[in-house]
């Protein structure tokens, strides 16, 4: 019996203690009419060997294409110790650290994580993580509405250069609390949000302005100007950032004169594999003055009855299990295992390593754009890449090109045609430190071949 250790003797002894004739008797409180689920839709059990075979076949079906896709999930080298440590049973199979004295490992790790995220983002306090970058943005908007004392507004300024899926998720989560988003357009030539388009909102009341850096197109926003505009207008600044890029880019705590108010983003690039989209983790940092408005768990350092230092969950009175309907959020969990991986990852890289990874990403993206734009019909949509992504325009529909590249084992990027029709036949490409010269050459050659075939096919049909 998989995972059930009971022998017939055990069962007999236990039933005797209970004075029950059979295990079925233990379910005698359930109305008879309700019982009799037959689970016809669940296949018979498989041994571990059989399951391993099945999953290996399924994995082989999916293969391992060469990946130039980003758009919110990024391929990075994950050092071997990261998951060797995160997979240890003491981390993998531990619960939430509610019994602090029996969970000092997890608690200290989270404290170290919080410290690293504060350092990376230039802010004063971090929580223990949220589900992912998209839901972290939703929570940040809810938090800004709660925290902005200078404003009763439930409106948030949302540029179109913010990841559109993040905006969708923020809508799904925040709509039920009457939070509305005012969409701000981007400059067509520069591919970023000009502070001039915000001046139109100067007289109105908004709780927050969201700025993503680098933005969804891979371009750099003028974060200092945007942050100062927000503060001049009693608007809180929410920064959505990429953690690897923070090795090179100005920390949000240093944006403008006062710095961002709430910072969030996707932590996946820090040691968490792509894995078809999850589990990832969302990070959130803020100023100390807003700490009681911040959702999620927080670990604090304290002392025990002998004066020995130790760690514990704190500020729990904000959370659902105490405040119930007045909670800051209904969030119950953090993404513990993903945070464990990220903390080990950041410890291995350190500031120096993170900078090397980020620099490699920036250079590889430049090299990729150069190589692809040498293919006839391919042009950059904006200036050079701000970090590791860029938008290119093609002289023909993007979808068939991507399909042809996929058939050749290359994931060429994200088709932007539907979401940003004004950009024409646009493609979002990404290159991280994992891409070599040979990889980039392979993509360029494949693209040239696909473009060439298309041209020949068109001529043939003419």
């Amino acid at each position: 019996m998989p995972f059930i250790p009971h022998t017939p003797e055990d069962v007999a002894g236990m039933l005797a203690t209970l004075g029950a004739a059979s295990i079925d008797e233990l379910f005698d409180e359930i109305p008879a009419g309700l019982k009799g689920a037959r689970l016809a839709g669940v296949p018979p059990a498989l041994s571990e060997m059989e399951v391993a075979r099945l999953l290996a076949e399924r994995a082989a079906q999916d293969g391992r294409p060469l990946c130039f896709l980003g758009a919110g999930a990024y391929e990075h080298h994950i050092p071997a110790p990261v998951w060797a440590i995160a997979s240890r049973g003491e981390f993998y199979s531990a619960y939430t650290p509610y019994q602090a004295e029996a969970s000092q490992g997890t608690l200290q790790l989270i404290y170290e994580y919080q410290s690293m995220m504060c350092g990376l983002t230039g802010m004063e306090v971090s929580n223990a993580s949220l589900y992912d970058g998209a839901s972290a943005l939703a929570e940040a908007c809810l938090m800004a509405v709660r925290a902005n004392r200078g404003s009763n507004s439930r409106r948030v300024l949302m540029p179109r250069t913010v990841n559109p899926t993040y905006v969708q998720v923020a809508r799904s989560i925040a709509a039920n609390q009457n939070i509305a988003f005012e969409i701000v357009d981007f400059d067509r030539a520069l591919g970023r949000t000009p502070v001039e388009s915000l001046r139109a909102y100067g007289g109105e009341d908004f709780a927050a302005l969201v700025v993503q850096q680098p933005n969804f197109f891979g371009n750099l926003e003028e974060v200092h100007e945007l942050t100062d505009w927000a503060h001049q207008n009693n608007v809180l600044l929410i920064g959505v950032v990429n953690p690897i890029s923070l090795a090179l880019l100005s920390a949000p705590g240093q944006w403008g004169g006062r710095g961002a108010d709430i910072v969030c983003g996707e932590g996946q690039p820090l040691g968490v594999p792509l894995a078809s989209g999850g589990p990832y983790f969302g990070f959130m940092t803020t100023r100390m003055q807003y700490v009681r408005q911040m959702p999620g768990r927080i670990v604090g350092r304290t002392v025990d009855i002998e004066g020995r230092p130790g760690f514990t969950l704190t500020l729990q009175a904000r959370e659902q299990h105490i405040r119930r309907s007045k909670a800051t959020s209904n969030i119950c969990t953090n993404q513990g295992l993903a945070v464990t991986a990220a903390t080990v990852h950041l410890s291995l890289l350190g500031a120096q390593g993170l900078e090397r990874v980020a620099q490699a990403c920036l250079q590889r993206a430049h090299d990729l754009v150069d190589a692809l734009c040498r293919v006839p019909g391919v042009k950059p949509a904006f200036g050079p890449p701000g970090f590791h992504e860029a938008v290119l325009t093609l002289d023909r529909p993007v979808a068939p090109v991507l399909a042809a590249l996929a058939a050749r084992g290359i994931l060429g990027g994200l088709d932007l045609t539907e979401r940003y029709p004004e950009l024409g036949q646009a493609l979002l490409v990404c290159a991280t430190e994992t891409k070599t010269d040979a990889d980039i050459r392979a993509y360029a050659e494949a693209l040239a071949a696909v473009q060439g075939e298309g041209l020949r096919a068109a001529r043939g049909a003419a």
Binding site: R292, Q316, A317, R318, I322, R323, K326
Partner: protein, 131 residues
Amino acid sequence: MSKIPDDLQFTRSHEWVRRLPDGALEIGITDHAQGELGDLVFVEVPHSGRGVKAGEACAVVESVKAASDVYAPVSGTVIAGNAELAAKPELLNQDPYGSGWLMRIEPAAGVAPAVLMSAAEYSAYVAETAH
């Protein structure tokens, strides 16, 4: 047994009210309430000038195990919040009817006076709701 001073009035949500000589009301939470909450770690009081409606939550008291709203017993304007509680929330545990006061409210003119319990009524109320 929690202390319940005779000269104060009380609400069903465990606030006490003291009528000040100038007509303003001084408000805090009772000894029973602070005992239930445990050691307070954080108190948030309203800023002066804020308008409040009767029954509106206008302060928060937070311990390790619970966070509770404190409600305005009347409509009016907050004329003072106890600023000492920010650094020393424990004052509220130690001296809930004295230095642990939370706020003072000037009742709005023409509004019906709050319906409050006497010390005896509050004492009975606490006994009946205790588990």
